[in-house]
């Protein structure tokens, strides 16, 4: 398993090189550059030329890419063109915020999805099954931005429990921080819960009809023990796969929630970098989000072996 993990980690290098090269070329192919965005309607060629020269944007595309790679190897992710801020510094700040949001959302999703999915599967076609599936259908159908606004209307404007939007760091106090993160985390988690509930239910339904579950029951094992120890563990394999993919997508995909709740996360950073054609920022964002995506998938693959001893990578 160790050899397999190392091989996968080594594969990360050409994968990331390919991704960054494609993105770099694509960014150059679309109209507009950071200097045009910077100067806007005050754009004039002479000033623009001077600024381009300052940031090396007047070099041929491949030279720019190689220069960027060269700096990256030395641990220098470059500076944002518009603000002059260090890309790695900005990304690390925002990655922490997004990671908290994603992990929180996944915890919310699991807290809802696993009990609801089990309940649904063990009592199919009953009121609890219909309730869980209706909730799941609602979660899948309601767009996140709309769900977020509904939660704000209820919990912020009507009940006044949570702030409408914004972000406060832990240094402002735990309650201040958590109260700002509660609604975005729940909004993001609820949609994921809806997807996972349906998955847990279908997976559990398949597993509990297996012979070894009947055997466990015929041996007199308690129903709770049968469900949690025998059925759930095996039912979790597809759930873990989907969860892994979801985490990968969420690194850059939290943009809607981050915009609705003004959370300074990585998704918001990436979109704004692309919109302003800030190449070093875009490359940094792509590098970090694709790395997280690939690494999460590797972790998911390794988790299979833990969940199912029949799966081996040697």
């Amino acid at each position: 398993m160790r050899t397999y993990a190392i091989r996968r980690l080594l594969l990360l290098v050409p994968t990331l090189l390919g991704i960054t090269l494609i993105v770099f070329l694509a960014m150059q192919a679309i109209p507009g550059d950071p200097v045009e965005v910077y100067l806007g309607s005050f754009y004039d060629e002479a000033t623009a030329r001077s600024i381009r020269a300052e940031y090396g944007l007047d070099q041929p595309i491949l030279v720019q890419y190689v220069q960027w790679l060269g700096r990256l190897v030395q641990g220098n992710w470059g500076k944002e063109v518009l603000s002059g801020d260090s890309v790695i510094l900005r990304i690390s700040e925002r990655l922490m915020v997004s990671a908290e949001l994603i992990i929180g959302a996944m915890i919310v999703a699991l807290i809802i999805a696993i009990p609801a999915g089990i309940l649904s599967a063990t009592r199919p076609y009953t009121a609890s099954d219909y309730t869980a599936m209706t909730g799941a259908m609602m979660g899948v159908s309601i767009p996140e931005f709309f769900g977020g606004i509904l939660l704000v209307l209820l919990f912020s404007l009507q009940l006044g429990w949570f702030p409408v939007q914004g972000y406060r760091p832990w240094s402002d106090g735990a309650w201040m921080h958590l109260s700002h993160m509660a609604l975005p985390t729940f909004t993001l988690g609820f949609t994921r819960a809806a997807i996972l509930t349906r998955l847990v239910r279908s997976s559990m339904l398949e597993i509990i009809s297996q012979d070894y579950i009947k055997t466990a029951r015929s041996k007199g094992a308690a129903e709770f023990f049968v469900i949690t120890n025998h059925a759930l563990k095996n039912a979790l394999i597809p759930v873990v796969t989907v969860m892994g993919l979801q985490v990968g997508f969420l690194v850059g995909g939290t943009i809607v929630i981050e915009t609705v709740f003004s959370i300074p996360g990585l998704g918001q950073y990436g979109i704004s970098a692309i919109a302003s054609r800030d190449y070093p920022a875009v490359m940094g964002f792509i590098l970090i989000s694709s790395s997280v995506f690939v690494l999460t998938n590797l972790i998911v693959d390794l988790t299979y072996a833990l969940l199912d001893p029949k799966i081996r990578y040697d």
């Binding site: 679309i30 109209p31 507009g32 550059d33 045009e36 965005v37 910077y38 100067l39 806007g40 309607s41 005050f42 754009y43 004039d44 060629e45 002479a46 000033t47 623009a48 030329r49 001077s50 020269a53 300052e54 944002e80 518009l82 603000s83 002059g84 801020d85 606004i149 704000v152 209307l153 912020s156 404007l157 006044g160 702030p163 409408v164 939007q165 914004g166 972000y167 915009t259 609705v260 709740f261 003004s262 300074p264 918001q268 950073y269 704004s272 919109a275 302003s276 054609r277």
Partner: protein, 528 residues
């Protein structure tokens, strides 16, 4: 007994007067929380880059002059000024004792340094250093567009400064200093000279508030500056500006009391806010226009018949104002906006007349066998653009004109519209216009920024005449002549005024609504 009665009556009258709404005594202290839709990549106010940076620059900074709510030029750092030598010389007498936020003196020498920096007569140390690496490096302040005429700045004494100007341009100095989009805000020479990069993150101005914390895409926190030259201002202790890109969240934050002010209320939310208790809306005659600029030098647009058909008679402005602009403004066809100081309303001359438009197009060689086709390129920063474009597309279709809509992001739009100038037609919410001259770089062919592509020497001459005429009434007459000339040639495709609305909680007092021309927060206070 009579004396006692008189005293009681006097006291009652005084109390009543004290409670009258107009005579409320301003309270000091408190924190004002503002919701801002736009993010700024840095805080360097020497280059104008849109409304959000203008808000920060002017809230923290001081200039020489200001506008009052009637667009009259009033003192800021200059407590008075004298114009002599037929307008070629202006002497400014400055308030004494003020400092920049770094404690350095805000005096005549600092004013001279700032104007010389703008006009390239001073090269800051950081730029000299950077030029050793890259000799081509240039610094061009956008303020220079309207202050290039200042040829010499003379320090008369510590608090008196005199500017000597060229003839052409001398008339624009006072309005440009007071209320143009690129209104001059003074920077600390010491701080700016040392480090351009550091200044970008932490600008040092000389206004009523100083920067405490700036986190891009999160917040900007500013606090009262104790060295401000008006010793009894500002009233507020602190202003916190939060980045809120989502319009609904700004609305909800205002309703819940999380913020006190929305600087730019989206048109679609005005109705809701009008119904919200405890909220006050500010709206005046708009100083900006919604325009659908055409490229006057591109293909068939060179033909005045095409321009008249599609810019004048073929556009149902009333319908657009009623639908996409929610009835919040008026149809408009001239360069200065309805609320500008030299506005001239010629919209009656441009009624929606499809028959006339068709006839003009036919004369220009376009008809059922050869329909006029073009693309409108709009950016995705304002949902109103799409709504307006859809209405125009439908209207043009009824004339047999085929208009395609291309929606692009702002970077692409700047590339196509401003830099390459390859669009047929676009949509634009213009910068605020105090007078016709204040946004004239967009049509003055002697600048490099004339993306409206009018390229008309007669118009350039009229503009230079405006810039050389000191008498305000004469200037207004030239401005009207210029706007009528543009209208007769259909160079400028104005659509309507652009409604700009601000909202505050009702306990926010002393708020000045200046249509984005100037942001002045020193008199704002909280009655709570």
């Amino acid at each position: 007994m009579r004396r006692i009665l008189a005293v009681i009556v006097s006291v009652v009258v005084l109390i009543a007067l004290g409670a009258a709404p107009g005579s409320e005594a301003a309270k000091r202290g408190g924190t004002l929380k503002v919701g801002m839709e736009g993010n700024i990549p840095h805080m360097d106010g020497t280059i104008a880059l849109g409304t959000p940076i203008k808000f920060y620059r002017e809230t923290m900074g001081a200039g020489l002059l200001l506008l009052d709510e009637n667009y009259k030029i009033v003192p800021d750092l200059a407590k008075r000024w004298e114009v002599s030598d037929e307008g070629r010389v202006i002497t400014f007498y400055l308030h004494e004792g003020g400092t920049f936020h770094d404690g350095t003196p805000l005096d005549a020498a600092a004013v001279k340094w700032n104007i010389d920096l703008i006009n390239g007569r001073v090269v800051p140390a950081w730029l000299k250093k950077a030029r050793q690496k890259n000799p081509k490096l240039k610094f061009r302040s956008s303020y220079r567009l309207y202050l290039y005429q200042i040829k010499k700045v003379e320090v008369v004494d510590k608090y008196t400064v005199r500017v000597h100007q060229a003839d052409v341009g001398k008339a624009q100095t006072l309005p440009a200093l007071a209320g143009y989009f690129t209104r001059l805000v003074l920077v600390s020479p010491t701080a700016y000279d040392k480090a351009g990069d550091k200044f970008k993150k932490h600008p040092i101005y000389g206004g009523p508030f100083k920067l405490v914390d700036y986190k891009p895409k999160r917040h900007v926190i500013i606090e009262r500056h104790k060295g401000y030259f008006h010793k009894d201002r500002p009233y507020l202790d602190r202003i916190e500006v939060y980045y809120m890109p989502d319009a609904n969240q700004r609305l909800n934050a205002l309703r819940s009391g999380q913020i006190d002010v929305i600087l730019n209320v989206p048109k679609g939310l005005v109705k809701t806010l009008k119904r919200t208790k405890g909220v006050k809306l500010y709206q005046g005659k708009s100083a900006t226009t919604f325009a659908f600029p055409i490229n006057n030098q591109r293909g068939p647009w060179k033909d005045i018949r095409v321009r008249k058909a599609l810019v004048c008679y073929g556009v149902n402005r009333k319908l657009i104002v009623r639908t996409a602009l929610r009835g919040l403004t008026v149809p408009w066809v001239t360069f200065s906006a309805p609320g500008s100081s030299d506005a001239i309303d010629l919209s009656a001359k441009c009624p929606f007349d499809p028959a006339k438009a068709k006839k003009l197009l036919a004369e220009a060689g376009f008809g059922p066998s050869k329909p006029f086709k073009f693309v409108m390129t709009i950016n995705n920063t304002d949902p109103t653009f799409v709504e307006i474009a859809q209405v125009m597309k439908t209207t043009y279709a009824s004339l047999g004109v085929k208009m395609d809509i291309r929606v692009v992001d702002r970077a692409t739009w700047v590339n196509l519209f401003v830099r390459k100038r390859v669009t047929d037609m676009s949509l634009q919410d213009t910068v605020p216009v105090l007078d016709t001259n204040s946004n004239s770089h967009t049509f003055f062919s002697k600048t490099f920024l004339d993306y409206y592509m009018m390229k008309d020497k007669k118009l350039d001459a009229m503009l230079e005449e405006w810039r050389s005429t000191m008498a305000p009434e004469k200037r207004k007459a030239i401005s009207h002549k210029m706007q009528t000339y543009m209208f007769d040639n259909m160079y400028y495709a104005a659509l309507a005024g652009s409604p700009y609305i601000q909202a505050t909680k009702d306990y926010v007092k002393g708020w000045k609504f200046l249509n984005k021309l100037v942001f002045d927060m020193k008199d704002v206070w909280l009655d709570k």
